[in-house]
Each structure stands twice: as structure tokens, then as C-alpha cells.
């Protein structure tokens, strides 16, 4: 009998990221959540001020818990194109693309950002664990899948002064990056001009054990730009303002839903432009063909709701009678001063039938419940848009 080195078992519950010590030192609210098995701040100090820092200054958010996969090899492009609905062959090297990928029924498995280093080298960042799916997608191809989730850490630096801050931190070379560009600015440091806020912002990718140094470097340069660390609650308001969808909220990842028929296609989520039917076969293509140009059974839309009460989870009616959908994400937008939301409609509502739609909101005012039926407007553009977010080179703001 091998006399036992008692194995300590794998850690239970959420574990720290390499930035945890720094975040903990900054956390006065002490509100944490579990993001993909890691401790992640919901609010560090005050959600409200963290939000305004995103829109007015610079903010740092630890995105290390994201799943990151590297797809390399002669067939890497073929594997990526088999996976996602857009054509990665049309992306230039050094570009980042938002992408969705589907199961055989054309239902979205997850969405994420696709980094093209070359046609033989891609990185995929996403919310759901995807190793098994990527390996299956690569079966029969000359490509290698590597789970980089615990090797590469990420920092989201977002806000109007974010470029100024990079410049102050000695990373002025990022000036050349246009939206969705990326480059290895320093050895071992990839910066992409991407983010989840719809504003000027960058994501910085570096080795797991050097991200703390990177944090310190930015932090040291940040005072002048009003740098503030934030939690996910403030970020969530910004992503709704920018009109970005969130997995598990605005759609249910097809592999995670136990109940049947919970999946939604990229077309139903409003991303027909990102479905390239002409590039050859990709997963779910044949199932998506009938939705081409006509939409699916459902339709996710941005809506503007009368009144001031956020409408998360509210039901939507046509002519105040027929239930035709529900709000998936709703929030009062402090920047645009609108009551905004993402909502899922049953076709044709929200797509071709856009008038006489009503939201039913329940409001609790100090213990008293009130039911309000208020009109909504379907909006085609993102709620928040700002020229500075696209300017290249970016201004100091």
C-alpha cells in the first residue's frame, strides 16, 4: 500500500485571479461574484461612480476569467470558419472580430471575440467553456487546440481617457490601433482596441503571472486620467447602452440549456450580417438557410421604454392584450437619459410589427406594488454612440 501522500483535492468554489490581492485592497463594498470559477468583483466601491468613470475617465476590469483558446496549424482557418458563422478568411491579420457559433440546429452555442494573428493562428475568447467543442470541430483537420484560459490573463481598460493613460504608461504605440485592431505592443503584451462598453477602450492580454505587474504599471500612470477599478455591475449598464448581448441573459447558450427549444439563432439575435452563407459550410448553415432574409421564430431588439422604471424581466404585449415577448436586459441609462432595454419578441413582433407594443412593469415603491403598462419604441441603433470611440488615432479626451 503506497503510504499516502494525502492528495489535497482540487479547490472548491471560486478561486482568486492573479489580480485578486489588488482588487481586494480596493474593495470597500466587498461584493464579489463567481465568474467562471474565479472571484470577480460585482462592485468594488459604488456601482454608480464606477459607471461614470467608464463614461468619463478610465476604468480597469479584470477579464482574466474569460475562456481563451488558441487555434493553430495549417488548417486553423478552416477550423475557425467551420466553427463561426462569419468568414474569418476576410479578416486581416491583426484584426479582432465579434463572432457567434452555432450547433447543428443553427442555435447559438456562444459568442465571443476572435483574434486573427495569421491564417494559421487564432485566439478565441468567450464566456462558456469550449475546449471539448473546439476539439470536436477540429477533428479531422490539421489544427491544434490549446486551452489558454489559465495562461493568458486579461485587463479591460475602458473609458475616454484610456488612450492617454496607455500613452502615459509608455504604451503610446497603441495609437495606431483602430477599432478591432490588435498588436503585440511589447513582447508578451497584446493590446486590442476592443471592449464591452461601446466607448474608447482597450483590452490588454499578457501572461497569467505578469498581469499583476501590468496592473501596477497602469495604476501608477493612471491618477492623472482618473483611473478607477470597477466591478461587473457598472459594466453591465454600459454594455446594454452599447447594445451588446450577454450569454445566459439575452440568449441561452445552446449547450447549457436543459429545456428544449431555448436556443436562438444568430439571425434571431439580430446578427444576420455576421452569417456568411457564401463562405462554404459552417456549423448550422443548413439549418439557418430558411431564416435567411426572413428572420426566425424570435427577434431580439433594442427598445426604448416610456417612463423611468427599468423593465428587466417585464412581459411585452401587443395592443396591451397579446403577450408577444419579454425584456431580457433593462436599465435606466444615466448617460443617454433613456429607459433602455434589450427585448425578445416572437416573430413578427419587434421586427415588422413595431407599433402598439407595451411593456408591463411592476414597481415596488417602499413596500407598495404598482403595475404600469407603458409604450415602447423599437430602436435600430445602439443607445450609446460616441465619435471618440472610433477616432484613430484617439484623442486625449
Amino acid at each position: 500500500m503506497p503510504q499516502a501522500t494525502r492528495k489535497s483535492h482540487v479547490p472548491v468554489g471560486a478561486i482568486p485571479t492573479p489580480l485578486h490581492a489588488r482588487l481586494e485592497a480596493l474593495s470597500t463594498a466587498r461584493r464579489w461574484t463567481n465568474w467562471a470559477g474565479f472571484v470577480s468583483p460585482l462592485v468594488l466601491d459604488t456601482a454608480e461612480f464606477e459607471y461614470f468613470a467608464i463614461r468619463n475617465q478610465s476604468t480597469l476590469f479584470d477579464i482574466s476569467p474569460m475562456h481563451k483558446y488558441r487555434i493553430t496549424g495549417p488548417d486553423a482557418l478552416a477550423v475557425v470558419n467551420r466553427l463561426v458563422t462569419r468568414d474569418a478568411g476576410r479578416m486581416r491579420d491583426g484584426r479582432v472580430g465579434y463572432a457567434l457559433w452555432c450547433d447543428e440546429e443553427g442555435m447559438v452555442i456562444d459568442d465571443g471575440t476572435l483574434f486573427r494573428f495569421s491564417d494559421t493562428d487564432f485566439r478565441l475568447c468567450c464566456q462558456e467553456p469550449m475546449l471539448g467543442w473546439l476539439q470536436e470541430t477540429a477533428w479531422g483537420f490539421d489544427a491544434d487546440i490549446r486551452d489558454e484560459s489559465h495562461e493568458i490573463a486579461g485587463l479591460a481598460l475602458q473609458g475616454p481617457t484610456s488612450y492617454s493613460l496607455l500613452s502615459d504608461a509608455g504604451l503610446a504605440a497603441a495609437a495606431a490601433l483602430g477599432p478591432f485592431d490588435m498588436a503585440e505592443i511589447e513582447p508578451g503584451l497584446v493590446i486590442s482596441r476592443t471592449g464591452f462598453t461601446g466607448d474608447l477602450g482597450y483590452e490588454l492580454w499578457t501572461a497569467w503571472d505578469s498581469v499583476a505587474d501590468l496592473w501596477d504599471r497602469l495604476w501608477a500612470a493612471g491618477a492623472h486620467c482618473g483611473l478607477r477599478a470597477i466591478g461587473s455591475q457598472a459594466l453591465d449598464i454600459c454594455r446594454i447602452e452599447a447594445g451588446f448581448i450577454a450569454a445566459g441573459v439575452d440568449f441561452q447558450p445552446a449547450h447549457a440549456a436543459v429545456r428544449l427549444h431555448r436556443g436562438r439563432s444568430p439571425i434571431e439575435l439580430g446578427f444576420e450580417k455576421l452569417v456568411d452563407f457564401g463562405k462554404g459550410h459552417f456549423n448550422g448553415r443548413r439549418a439557418l438557410l430558411p431564416q435567411r432574409g426572413t428572420g426566425g421564430r424570435h427577434h431580439l431588439a433594442r427598445i426604448d421604454i416610456a417612463g423611468f422604471k427599468p423593465a428587466g424581466g417585464a412581459l411585452i404585449y401587443h395592443r396591451k392584450k397579446k403577450e408577444v415577448g419579454h425584456v431580457t436586459s433593462g436599465v435606466w441609462s444615466p448617460t443617454t437619459k433613456r429607459n433602455i432595454a434589450l427585448a425578445e419578441f416572437r416573430a413578427p413582433y419587434g421586427r415588422t410589427v413595431t407599433d402598439n407594443l407595451w411593456v408591463e412593469i411592476y414597481v415596488n415603491q417602499e413596500g407598495q406594488w404598482d403595475r404600469r403598462i407603458v409604450p415602447l419604441t423599437v430602436v435600430s441603433e445602439p443607445f450609446f454612440r460616441n465619435a471618440r470611440s472610433r477616432a484613430t488615432p484617439p484623442g486625449p479626451f
Partner: protein, 545 residues
Amino acid sequence: MSRHDRYDAIIAGAGHNGLTAACYLARAGLRVLVVEKNDWVGGAAVSRSLHEGWTYSNCSYVCSLLRREIVRDLELPRFGLQVIPYEGGASFTRDGDYFAYFSDHDALRREMARHSPADADAYARFSQTVMRQCRFIRPFLLRNAPDPASLRPRDMGELLFLIRKAHGLGRRELAETLRFWTLSIGDFLDEHFQSDLIKAHLAGSGIIGTGLGVYSPGTAYVLLHHYMGDVDGTIGAWGFARGGMGAISNALAASFQEAGGTIVTGSGIDRFLVSDGRVTGVALENGDSYAAPVVASNMDVKRTFLKHTDRKHLPEDFIRAVERFKIRGSSGKLNIALDALPDIPAAPRGAPFLRGDMHCSTSLAELERAYDDWKEGRWSAEPYFDMLIPSQIDPTMAPKGKHMMTVFVQYAPYDLEMNGVRSADNWNDDTRKAFADSVFDKIAQAMPDIRDRVVHAEIRSPWDIENEVGLTEGNIFQGELTFDQLLFNRPVPGYAQYRTPIAGLYLAGSSAHPGGGVMAAPGANAAREILRGLGKAGRMPDHAA
């Protein structure tokens, strides 16, 4: 002769199904008598004190399948029933490692990835499929299985319900369901996982209680049968009944007695009394007899009809079908009093998974070989076992500082082979001890000091289980869970709806749809059928899903 010699209904056997049927009937206003051969109630759901200071759940040992609709209807929590979910489980290897099943999602992912990175993702797909199948099947548990050969409106209605549910699945999922029902657990796991140890850990549920191997088609369904239970809505969770499994039977008995029911213990059924094709009552072994126009048997179908019913009342076809019903025993049980927690060198002290189900099987091939032994009439040289120490969670099971361990062992044959002869008579103290030794040898893989910890051990072969509990051949499900014995085929085609060829005589045990496990659904369904027969269907709570 008893004072109350006439009842509205008599239940033969105080197992959990018999008591459940009795409760529903008593609550519907019937005068109900339960007769039980043992001096205690509970059948296979009992807590027994066989060594002073210790309580053994000496047959069934964990709880999950008990339908929450029934628990609520019969107010079992008010009568003391408390079910506590347990925290995980583990399979130990021979070389000092283990695979641990954590209830914590993140830890489980990490543990799976430790053995095989791809398996962590595969587990999500595996659970999605299993949960979908559970969701599909659960609505059928508290309903009658339709008779496809019948054109009666009720059967057509049930058939339509099934078709509607099936249609709701959509084309691909429906085909997937058909496939799942006919697949072996081994093939199903091979499709998902790479790690032998993970596969072995998950395979157990596909074979527990069956006379099938992990590669026998249909065992994926058996896995479902074990997963479709829940603890407070968490599908697939398992728990301990506080005070042992007898707590369930005791709560049922108390609920029954409060509703005005009577229980007579200590004398079994000699025969069911039948006159002009109608049941008229029961005669007991002690000479007493009771009359009632309705009798429900909690005994398995073979015992009910081949032992306690005069054959002349039964059609020849029916007798043949009952004789053919497969009810092979395949499992034994060790109930062990421990003077302290055994040492488990492989695992960190106090690890949560030690408070769950523990196993020492390390591959599907090892499990399949265990089955091959059983086919030859031998106990498995390398047995599969499901081992728990409930006293870690439930302090009522053992004296302070001491522990109680339950080990469900598979495979063990009813007809044991000795010198070329297969017979239950070959089970004696010597063979029982040899059987237990083979189990202890394997437990020692994980717990080297196990033999030193044992204060007392009860060893139960399939023959012992038959003898004490009355389950034919010691089969824990009152009939194997194979396609030919499920749904409208259970127990006998044409009699799948709790009724029998004898008017007024019903089956209320696990031989009937939906089958075994401490689920109580057959008992509740039988009660519904009895009340319907009496024109009192409205007195049965509605469980329509």
C-alpha cells in the same frame, strides 16, 4: 378472530408502496387494514437496530426517488420525515488516487479536468442529455402506462399524452430519446468521456439492482431511473433519510394511522380469498382472516400469484406470463458498525466527497467482468459497490464517535454455483463469509484499516433479502428494469394498470409501473386505480403534470 374483521380495503405488505396506497385510501375515507408478515413495518425501507447502539438502513439505504407530490400529499414531514442531501462521492483507484464527485460545480470541473481536460466539457453535455431525458420521463411516473392494445378512451388518452409529449421533443430530440432508451450505459459513457475512472464512477447508476452489465443495451435507461429522483427539486440529487430509511416507512405508517388505518404485524398472507373471480379478503398464516372487497398486494407479482393465490382463479396465460417475469437477484448488502471512521489515505481528511457514495471500481471493463461472474452463478471477484457512511451526517445512526457504514454490493447471484450446482441453498454462513471477504478485500483498496474498524457486520445475500423482506430472489426492484418489463409490459402485458385477472385484487408494489426504488409511485398509482374502480376517483389528489 379480530373484532374488525371487515374492511373496505386490505393491503398485503407494509412496504413503502403498500403503506402509500394505504394512506391514500384511508385519506379517501376508506376503512383500511394493512397486514405485514414481519413484526415491523417498512419492507425494504427499514431502520433496524441489529447491533446495540447502531441503526442500520439494512436494505435500501439512500433516498431520492420518493416523489415529492406523495411526500406532500401524505404530509410525511409532519410525521418526522427529513431528507438531507449528501455532498458528492468518490471512486478510489488501486494506486492511491481517486476521482471525486463534488456538488460544487467549479470543483467538479477542476476534478474532471485533472483526470482529462476534455471530460470536464463532456460532462456538461452528458448532464444536459440526462436531465432532458429526466424531464421527459418524470410526468409519466404518476400516470398509468397506456395499454397500446386497448381502444378504451382512458388508454387512448394516456397514449395521446405520450404522443403529445414525444411530439413536443421535436424530430431530433425524439430520435435521441429513442436512442437513449435503447443504449448501454457503457456505450453512452464511451461517447462522452475518456477517463476510465470517470466512466466507472458514473456507470454505477446504470446497473444498480439489475441483472445487466454496463454494456447491455437498456442500461442507459436504468441510469435515468436512478437520476430521475430529486431532493427538493434538484433532479438527480440523493439524500439520507434522518434516522435511516425506516423514517420513511414510519412516517407513512403514522400518516396512515392518523387517517384511521389499522396495521396488523407478525403474520403474513397465507392466501388471497377469491370467490366467483372476485377477491373477498385474505387469510393469514396465523389462521386469522379478514374480509374486504378490495385487496392490494404490495408483494411482487410472482409472490402474489404463484405463492399466495390459488391457480384455479387465474388464466393459464397469465400464470405463464408471471412465471416468465424476470426478477433475478443480483445484489447483496453489508451493514457494518465501525468503531471509528476508517482511514482513507488517498483523500484529504474531511473531504466533502467522503460524505457521499464511495466506490472502488476503476473501469467499465472491470464492471463488465463483474457481471460475467454473476452470469456464471458466482459473486463478482472484483465487485462493484456503493458504499456510504451516513453517520457522518446523521448522528442518530451510531453511538457518539462511532460510525455506521452501508455497502451495497453487486453482483451476487441468488442461485449460487457450487461444484456445478446452482442453488440458493448454497448460501450459508461459510459462503456468506467468503462473499463478505471478497468485498472487504476490495474496500481495503481505499480503506486499508477497514477490517480493524469493524465492530459488527450484517452480511446479506440475495437469499437473505428474499427471506426477510419477501422480495423474490432478493431483486430490489421487484422485477428487472428491462424494456420487456417496463411501461405497458410491467409486470404483464394487459395487466399493466395495477389490476389483475381477479376483480378487486390490485398490485401496489414495484412489480407494477413505474418500477422499483423507494419512489412510492406504484403505491400511489394503485390507490388511484382502486378509487377509480370504486367510483371515488375525485378523492385522489390530482398530480397531473
